[in-house]
């Protein structure tokens, strides 16, 4: 009997060894150095990675025990050829079953508590306004707009003042972050055309109501319209006219009057399904895999996530903001570059106007780090780097140092 348990332990260790080898395979073959996980550029990610490795080890141990027993049974409890007998008549074992309830319960509760601690540490002041001044809480805000299919970023202080000092500054299409600052991302999915949709809806409701139009209260503008409206006055006028024309053509037909070709064309242009939905966007998800944190961008509903970039990205760190929620035809291409720069560079970058920002892309900002921290005139330097990277898209640090 003794020998049996020793052998079983051997099987469990063996199964565990094989499983571990297979699981760690990519670290060897993967060549990427990291094995399972991408590079890490956020302070929050460390605890998440630890949690992940802890869970992986736990899973391997449990897998080894369960499957070790299965493998042992497969080898030692095989029926001999022609053996038509039965196995031992064992119905169960109450003690074992109780242990099998108590031990896993304890394990999962421990995992649960640990996970919750990590979650709390990573979200200081994110949902809890009272903790907004504690260390670890956000020091600046980035307004993120996801749309089909791209991203826009607007930079603000904690209090909501635009960092560039200009209310109407054009949002950046790449994500540039200062190092060692906790950033809160206010995430939203907006098409930018919500305003038009509301005007159309309003106009057709009022027209339909006729004399009693007063009874229709103004439809409240939603959060997208208030914060990310991209429509111009001409757009608005066109939308109003469009709604009026459509409504009048509809009425004419309904009354049985002859409609002309122009009106027919208006009606034919009606969308296939109910019209007022074409102005809103769909859900996306804001994710930087190297930061380990993501949150969905919901159509017209604000969501939050925060993290602290803790590495300046060099020329080889081609990290991107990725959309992780299926959003239609262009989903896989809904990516944009992101980079982390030192504080001075960031302060300089944040004040650039749209024109100047064209040179200060993430690709070029990453190359700029080759020159070390002390650049006197960033405007000149970035122009040089931009020229270089235009000539040689694969330019590396050596080239930058040499030429500039």
């Amino acid at each position: 009997m003794k020998g049996q348990w020793g052998k079983l332990a051997g099987y469990i260790v063996g199964t565990g060894a094989v499983a571990t080898a297979i699981t760690l395979l990519p670290a060897r073959i993967g060549i990427d150095g990291n094995g399972w996980l991408p590079d890490l550029i956020s302070s929050e990610g460390g605890a998440i990675d630890d949690l992940f490795w802890g869970l992986t080890i736990m899973s391997l141990v449990i897998f080894a025990i369960v499957c070790g027993i299965v493998v042992y049974s497969m080898v030692h409890f095989r029926a001999a050829p022609g053996d038509l007998g039965d196995g031992e008549h064992i119905h169960g074992n109450a003690k074992m079953e109780v242990a099998w309830i108590v031990i896993p319960s304890i394990i999962v509760l421990v995992i649960g508590v640990l996970s919750y601690v990590v979650l709390q540490d990573n979200e200081v002041g994110l949902y809890d306004k009272a903790a907004a001044k504690k260390p670890g809480a956000a020091e600046m805000v980035v307004d993120v707009r996801g749309f089909s299919f791209g991203w826009a970023f607007r930079y603000e202080t904690k209090e909501g003042e635009p960092l560039s000092g200009d209310e109407d500054a054009v949002p950046s299409s790449e994500l540039v972050l200062p190092v060692d600052k906790v950033v809160r991302f206010n995430v939203l999915s907006c098409s930018g055309k919500e305003h038009l949709g509301r005007i159309q809806e309003q106009v057709s409701r009022e027209l339909a109501a006729g004399d009693e139009a007063d009874e229709f209260a103004e439809i409240e503008p939603g959060i997208c319209e208030r914060e990310w409206d991209l429509t111009t006055d001409e757009d608005q006028k066109a939308a109003e006219e469009d709604a009026t024309r459509t409504y009048e053509a509809l009425m004419k037909r309904q009354d049985g009057k002859q409609i002309n070709d122009e009106e027919q064309a208006v009606l034919d242009e009606q969308p296939r399904f109910h019209g007022d939905q074409q102005f809103i966007d769909v859900n996306h998800a804001f994710w930087v895999p190297e930061a380990r944190l993501k949150i969905d961008a919901i159509s017209g509903l604000r969501t939050y996530v925060q993290w602290e970039p803790n590495h300046v990205t060099g020329p080889d760190d081609n990290y991107q903001v990725v959309c992780a929620e299926l959003c239609g035809t262009g989903h896989n291409g809904m990516r944009t570059d992101m980079c982390v720069v030192d504080q001075e560079t960031f302060d300089w970058w944040a004040k650039l106007d749209e024109e100047a920002r064209r040179d200060a892309t993430c690709t070029n900002l990453r190359l700029l780090t080759c020159l070390g921290g002390d650049v006197d005139d960033r405007d000149d330097a970035i122009a040089d780097v931009a020229k270089l990277s235009k000539e040689d898209p694969d330019a590396a640090c050596d080239a930058v140092k040499e030429k500039i």
Binding site: I22, E88, H89, G222, D268, Q270, K294, D296, I298, T329
Partner: protein, 730 residues
């Protein structure tokens, strides 16, 4: 009231009607084909103008001639071919009725619209009502409403057990009529779902062909990729995994219980034919561009015009899911009643085989859960077609509420997809390892426990959705707690193997393979429940790996175990064990090669549902290599499936005779002939002991009518449960 009891097959003679039906059906058929072809080839852009509608009916210019001709020819052919067939309820009449029904529904809708001064034709309403009436007419064509109609009129209807006309063993024709024999329905389900799996599998291979290399090669654009991906998911979940258990359970469970049939045989047939129709609605959307929003069909991707306008395929999904869901609910109610009320004398709850327990719990989950998914899809439908604002944030709708309602069904749905498998695998392991189930009661109770907890964890799919943040803690803890009853099951199976006499038969191979792969999937499930980690990998290939390990490594492995286990019972013949083993190894190795590397891709940052990953591969070169490996694994699985189909179809006809009980099992379905007689038993059996008493000399689970000791056992059993409905003896 002496009207003679009618028999269901004769039906109303339709001799004069057949010709007209044929011509109308032929016309509609030709017009539909023409229109579909136009849409498909891009020659016709549906925007609902009356000109479009005329073109669709083939009423313009040259089309009129073409369609008339085709209609006449087809009508003639159908009339000749169907002279007999149309007179009888059946598939041929039903097919013609689909065309007629659709035309009637569309015409009615357009009439009503005209009356209200709207453009007569509009995609949404016409297609929706067209499908509804087409369905009703199709069931009428099958003869499905007939006896209910008689009953409503007050006419006498045939006894529900009396399906002697329907299960009349006329060979293959039995399978194409509104047959109420549970064994026929079981096989109908199994054949139908494996057909659907073939389609779903082809989609998976297409997806893998695209992803083998970065950039787009196989598909023209992201939209096509999304269609194939969505179709794959929907077919595998709603047209394969859920109904395949309905098929297995239909065949096996009434016999396991000692009953002559299901409690509601007509409802049973209605569920099957409804399911087939719903499935075909999904498939019918392929030529006009299927749904693209994934199987989760999240609003507002599914419900908004959005920048990429929602296509007609979305309507097909919304209607198909209602039909498939309704079928699922009808089947579930049927199983609940059957299991509660149709057990043979002596079959106490604690003597039921675990497959029955799993099925009972699953049926309860379906009845409580499925209305929620139906509701969520109705809301999407109303947003699209009627302009309601359930999910339109611009006018006060809330897109996150979609996810709550959807997952309130769809998390329990993952247990709907696995609980019968959990039960089934216990039957297979005990039989082929010749040992009682370890902790039978614990296994049964943990099934119920999983079912109950399953309703409390839906929001673990929404950790990154931006829902109320406090919900994450309870959802995380409860999700992890599900691992406890699941662990009990794993303990039960492994401990059953201890000191057993394991026979490495083909079903047993699948069961053992299941233990490895399901354990892996369960463990990644616990990992995913840890919120901080899930936030990183949610919507990545890590999740894809997890749910394929539980769905493929869990459910599908049990399905194959069950198919091989009961194949000799269903056909009376033995499959080729060599080919069975080849199938197993191709699939087992293939699936691990496919799904295991997905974990690495996910943690590394590959999102799911993407058509291309060139940027990621540029940054992390191994991504390309692993994707290529995965595609090779997928091809192995495809090969395995072909071996399976070959083995099944040849062994069904030419395999060696298997005998009644080749596995020497104790449960009731093995005590009758293979295949079982029309009403399963000649006289009611009586259950006298536990289902898995292997190793106990002389142990018996049940006695058949006439076996020594039967009378005493029956008297004893009836003392305990006098109300047991004794099935009629035949």
């Amino acid at each position: 009231m002496t009207a003679p009891v009618r028999t269901e097959t004769t039906g109303m003679p339709m001799r004069p009607g057949a010709g007209i039906l044929g011509i109308v059906g032929g016309w509609v058929f030709a017009a539909v084909v023409l229109t579909l072809f136009r849409i498909w080839s891009g020659g016709l852009d549906w925007n609902g103008s009356s000109a479009d509608w005329k073109a669709a009916l083939g009423l313009t210019g040259g089309d009129f001639l073409l369609v008339s001709l085709a209609g006449a020819v087809l009508g003639l052919l159908l009339t000749i071919a169907g002279r007999d067939a149309f007179r009888r309820h059946g598939l041929l009449r039903a097919l013609a009725m689909i065309g007629v029904g659709y035309a009637v529904g569309a015409a009615l809708t357009m009439l009503v619209r005209t009356a209200f001064g709207l453009v007569p034709y509009s995609d949404g309403p016409v297609i929706v009502f067209g499908i509804v009436t087409a369905y009703a007419f199709y069931i009428a064509g099958m003869g499905g409403w007939q006896s209910w109609f008689w009953y409503a009129k007050g006419d006498p209807t045939p006894e529900h057990e009396d399906h002697s006309n329907h299960g009349a063993r006329r060979g293959w024709r039995d399978y194409f009529i509104f047959n109420t024999d549970h064994k026929v329905i079981g096989l109908q389900y199994l054949v139908a779902v494996f057909f659907f799996m073939l389609v779903g599998g082809a989609m998976a291979e297409a997806v893998r062909a695209e992803l083998a290399n970065p950039e787009l090669q196989f598909f023209a654009d992201g939209s096509q990729y999304n269609q194939a991906m969505s179709l794959h998911g929907v077919i595998m979940l709603f047209l394969f995994i859920i109904p395949v258990f309905a098929g297995l359970a239909n065949y096996v469970i009434p016999i396991m219980l000692g009953a002559p049939d299901m409690a509601y045989p007509r409802l049973n047939a209605l569920s099957f034919w409804t399911f087939v129709f719903g499935g075909c609605v999904f498939l019918a959307s392929i030529p006009i561009g299927t749904f693209e929003a994934g199987w989760t069909n999240y609003a507002t991707l599914s419900s908004s015009g959005g920048p990429a306008e929602v296509g007609l395929g979305q309507l097909m999904w919304l209607m198909g899911i209602q039909l498939v869901g309704a079928s699922s609910i009808m089947t579930a109610i049927n199983f609940i009643v059957t299991i509660v009320a149709m057990r043979a004398p002596g079959m106490t709850m604690w003597r039921m085989p675990l497959f029955v327990w799993g099925n009972l719990t699953q049926a309860l989950l379906i009845t409580f859960g499925t209305p929620f998914v139906a509701g969520s899809q109705f809301m999407v439908l109303f947003d699209l077609v009627m302009g309601t604002n359930f999910f339109n944030s611009m006018l006060g709708g809330d897109p996150i509420s979609y996810q709550h309602i959807f997952w309130f069904y769809s998390h329990p749905a993952v247990y709907i997809m696995i609980l019968p498998g959990f039960g089934l695998i216990t039957d297979v392991i005990t039989t082929h390892a010749r040992k009682p189930a370890f902790g039978y009661r614990a296994l049964a109770i943990s099934t119920i426990g999983i079912g109950f907890l399953g309703f409390t964890v839906w929001a673990h799919h929404m950790f990154t959705s931006g829902m109320a943040p406090w919900l994450r803690l309870p959802m995380m803890i409860l999700t992890m707690l599900i691992a406890v009853p699941t662990g009990i099951k794993v303990l039960g199976w492994t401990a059953t193997l201890w000191k057993a006499k394991i026979h490495m038969t083909v079903p047993m191979l699948w069961a053992l393979g299941f233990l490895f792969t399901f354990t892996c999937g369960g463990l990644t499930g616990v990992m995913l429940a840890a919120v901080p980690f899930d936030i990183h990998v949610q919507d990545t290939y890590f999740v894809v790996a997890h749910f394929h390990y539980v769905l493929f490594g869990g459910s599908v492995m049990t399905v194959f175990a069950g198919i091989y286990h009961w194949f000799p019972k269903m056909t009376g013949r033995m499959f080729d064990p060599g080919l069975g083993k080849l199938h197993f190894w191709l699939m087992f190795i293939g699936s691990n090669v496919t799904f295991f590397p997905m974990h690495w891709l996910g943690t590394l940052g590959m999102p799911r549902r993407i058509a291309d990953y060139q940027e990621l591969a540029a940054n992390y070169p191994s991504v390309h290599g692993w994707n290529a490996v995965i595609t090779i694994g997928a091809l192995m699985q495809g090969l395995g499936f072909v071996v399976f189909l070959y083995n099944m179809s040849t062994s069904w006809r030419r395999g060696p005779l298997a005998g009644n009980n080749p596995w020497r099992s104790h449960t009731l379905e093995w005590q009758v002939t293979s295949p079982p007689p029309l009403f399963n038993f000649h006289g009611t059996p009586v259950v006298v002991g536990a289902p898995y008493d292997y190793g106990l000399p002389g142990a018996k689970h049940a006695l058949l009518h006439g076996e020594p000791g039967y009378d005493e056992a029956l008297a004893e059993a009836l003392k305990r449960r006098p109300a047991a409905p004794a099935p009629a003896a035949h």
